[in-house]
Structures are given as C-alpha cells and as structure tokens.
Amino acid sequence: MLELKDIRSYYGNIQAIKGVSLTISEGEIITLIGGNGAGKTTTLMSISGIVPPRSGEILFMGEPIHEKSPDEIVSMGICQVPEGRRIFPFLTVMENLDMGAFLRKDKDGIKKDLEYIYDLFPILAERRHQAGGTLSGGEQQMLAISRALMARPRLLLMDEPSLGLAPLVVRRIFEIIEQINRENNTTIFLVEQNANLALKVANRGYVMENGLITMADDAGKLLANEEVKRAYLGL
C-alpha cells in the first residue's frame, strides 16, 4: 500500500533521514521504533509532504506522492496524528473534528462518523462546545485521533500517541488503535518510543537509528530480539 524507496530528507542543511526504505501492506499495523532524534517524525512528515524528501520515492497505492502537496496527500487517504497532538487550541472540539473532515463532501457520512466517534469517546461528545486547548492531555489525544479518523483515512500515521500520558490512558489509546484497525480495516503506521506496547499491537516493526533502518522483522521476533530488548525495552 505504501512504499518508501531510499528516501533522504533534510531539515535545512541537517540530514535527518539517510536512506529509508520500508513497505506497508493494506490492513497492517506497522510500527517504527527508535530513540530520540532517530528520524521517526521526519519519516512521517516526509510521507505527509510537510518535509518533502530530497531524493528517493514514496509510492501510495502504486502512485508516487513525494512531489505532491500536503493537501493532495490527505485527499488520497493518508492522514496523520502528529506528535504532541497539535489540537487547534481555540477551535471547539466539534470544530476540530470538522477540520478532520475538511476535504470531505458527503454530509451524511460525516454525520455518521461523528456519531461513531462520540460513541468511541463519549467524553468528546460531552465537551463538544469546549475549546480544544482546555482539554486534558489524554482527552486531547483522543480528539487528535478522532480528528484524523474524520478524514476516513486509508492509511493512518500516528506519531507517539502515548507521549506524556498516564499508563491507564495509554492502554486505552492502544486498545482504540487496535479497534480502528480491526473495525475499519484502516492501515496504521505507528511511530513509538514505547517499544514494548507498540510491538505488542503491531504485525511488523522497523527499528530506526540515526536516520537509517537498522532492523526489520515480525513484531513478535523483535520483542524477543536481544538487541531490541537491551536498547528499547529496558530489559
């Protein structure tokens, strides 16, 4: 479904990704783990077109997207839940959700999806007229995921959804990730520092270090791998 072929991306003159190749098939949950500054976020931003790669190719459903603008990429069905949630602080919860459906024209479908989301996260229904910036961290993460779901993405990119949240909330978020994948057959590309949790929900995983993919394997095998255990699982 998504294929990255040897992409290299820069922030100014600093090379953040030094040749990353990976593939994601439809219906999978794929995780990308690695430490701070490994280039995980840049990889996602390159896919979304915010930091277009300087070289290499990105194919989505066989079509090259690395030269498309971010809004074109969203319209093809790739949506991102960025690091730090990035809720629009002065828009209400409802307006934030509307922004997720920005490119959609099917009013009935939007309404149905909104009900689905209020079902998934009743707290958002309760707070729908509240400004996004007034929600707690966990609620904001729920809103960020919901906002992305409102786009009805075929591929959902998630950047560290567990960051800064209480363990109970993290568990709930990961349950939702699995549920979204199961119920809507949404393909999920999950970037995480919490390698343990990420590898438990994922089918396959990639390990990234210093802008390069250093390991790629089934999630279960990575969980059992001695090197991964030592570096990322703290065992």
């Binding site: 971010p70 602080p89 002065f90 922004m99 910036g133 786009a151």
Partner: protein, 300 residues
C-alpha cells in the same frame, strides 16, 4: 451636550475607517504573523482607483449613486488584485525566512507603491468628488451627523457583520482560523494554506479599499501619502485592540477614533496624535496583548 454628540459621531466615523483598515493588518498578522506595512498603500490605491473610475463615469453621465457603487466596486477589485500580488511577490518567497526579512520586504513594498503612485499620478492633492449623496430623511439630525458619516458607519457595520459570519461559520473561515493557530497542522488536515493566505490578503485589501473610497469621498481630497498616515493609525488601532483579533481591530479603531475626536474637541487639535499614541503606550504597558488580545501562554 450637542457638542459632545457631534464629537461622538465624528469619532465614530473616524474609528470606523480605522477599523476597516485595521482589519487587514490584524487578519494578515493572525495568519502569517507579519505586519503588512504595505497595507496602507492598498487603501491609498483603492482611493485613487475610485477617483479615476468616478471621473470616467461622471463624464459618461452616470447618476450619483451608481457612480459610488461602481467606483467602490472597481476599487475593491483593483486593491484586492494588488493585495494578492504583493503577497505572492514580496512575502511568499520569504515565508520560511526569519520574520524580520518579510517585515523589511513589507516596508520596501510600501515605499515602492507610494513612489509608484507619485510618479504615475501626481504629488499634488487631488480633489475627490463627494460621491455620497445627502439623504433627506437625515435632515433632523444633520447638525450632529452628516449623511456621509452615516454611510461610513453603516457600511463599516455591515462589512463587520459579513466578515464575522465568514470567519465563524464558513468552511473558508474555519480554515483561516485553523491556519492561524497551527499552519502545519492545517496542512495535515488537507487545507491548502497558500490559498487561505491569498484569500486573507484579498479580504483585507477589499475592506481597506472600501475604507479608502469612503474616507476620500468624505474628506474630499487625496494624494499618494494618505496611505502612510492612515496605515499608521490603523496599525495603532489593531495593536490597541489586540493584533490578530478581528473584534479587537474594530474596538481598537473605535477607541482610537473617539480618543482623537474628544481630544481635538475639548483640548486642541494639536494634541490629537499625542492622546492617540499616549493611549497606545498605556495599553502596551498595562495590557501588552491589547484590549481583546489573547495572551500568548496557552496549553497546547
């Protein structure tokens, strides 16, 4: 008491014009955090366009009201085209550059446009026809407020209502607010940010042009320099109200208009600017984010 109301209405008129121009400053600042110093020139170009179109139309024998409407329309279209082009030429290439670069580019654009009009037109003051007719039904209060002033205040109010509706309820308005709050995130939601920025410049320029036509026809003369002075005042109004806030621009404009009007009426016209800028300094000391501005600390 009658004198008070006279000053009140003249301040209201003045404030309305400031508000119309301040809107452009505040909306552009809200979206790309740039003080568009060329904005006053857009207003001046609007006035010149209206003067030329009105001249041609009156030679062709159009009646008063249709001249006003067509001249205003031409000014709006022409100024919007200028606003759009300025953004594409002077600001867009600098969007990723430090903010100071774009600011300098804006000042350069302002100087360029002033001198362009100076060369293409004239350095003299040109008489501007009074396009706003006298309404008979306003005669009972004519000693307090003229028809032109009523037209200015009503037009401003209508523009404000339309603009608030646009920002609050339309898809474009939502995209504008989202872009103002987090540009990258708006892009990740599929918003074409370039288009949103262009629209912002077009809307701001259109309101400035309306202000230009109204005030030129009220005061009765224009030259290439009017944009600079009006621009400084409107910028003050925008900062006073809280730059980035649309209701703030309106409130700032009105407060500034009244301050100037009462200072002129009760003290001396020499002190008009002293009071206006003293007010600005006081606001900046005691409430730096402006009357309706949002403080920058927020939980994100």
């Amino acid at each position: 008491m009658e004198y008070f109301f006279e000053l009140f209405f003249s301040g209201l008129t003045r404030g309305s014009i400031y508000a119309l121009i301040a809107l452009g400053y505040t909306m552009v600042y809200g979206i790309i955090e740039l003080i568009n110093f060329a904005h006053g020139e857009i207003y001046m170009i609007g006035a010149f366009t209206a003067l030329i179109v009105a001249g041609v139309l009156s030679l062709l024998g159009f009646n008063e009201l249709s001249i006003l409407a067509l001249a205003a329309l031409a000014a709006v279209v022409y100024s919007s085209a200028y606003g759009y082009t300025i953004e594409k030429m002077a600001y867009k290439p600098l969007r990723k550059a430090p903010r100071l670069s774009a600011l300098i580019s804006a000042i350069g654009m302002s100087i360029f446009l002033q001198n362009y009009v100076l060369l293409a037109q004239t350095s003299d003051f040109l008489p501007f026809p009074s396009l706003i007719p006298d309404f008979h039904f306003l005669e009972p209060i004519a000693h307090l407020i003229t028809s032109a002033e009523v037209v200015i205040v009503v037009t401003t109010a209508v523009v404000m209502v339309i603009l608030s509706f646009l920002i609050k309820f339309t898809r474009l308005g939502k995209a504008m607010r989202a872009t103002a709050q987090d540009k990258d995130m708006a892009m990740l939601m599929g918003v074409n940010v370039n288009r949103v920025i262009s629209f912002t410049f077009i809307i701001g320029s259109a309101t400035a042009a309306i202000g230009g036509v109204l005030i030129a026809s009220h005061i009765g003369m224009i030259n290439f320099y009017i944009g600079f002075i009006a621009g400084i005042k409107a910028f003050t109004a925008a900062v006073l109200g809280g730059i980035g806030s649309v209701p703030g621009a309106v409130l700032g404009g009105l407060v500034l208009g009244w301050t100037e009007s009462f200072a002129t009426g009760y003290v001396s016209s020499d002190y008009e600017d002293v009071f206006a800028f003293t007010l600005l300094v006081l606001i900046l000391i005691f409430r730096p984010e402006g009357i309706l501005g949002r403080s920058t600390t927020q939980k994100v």
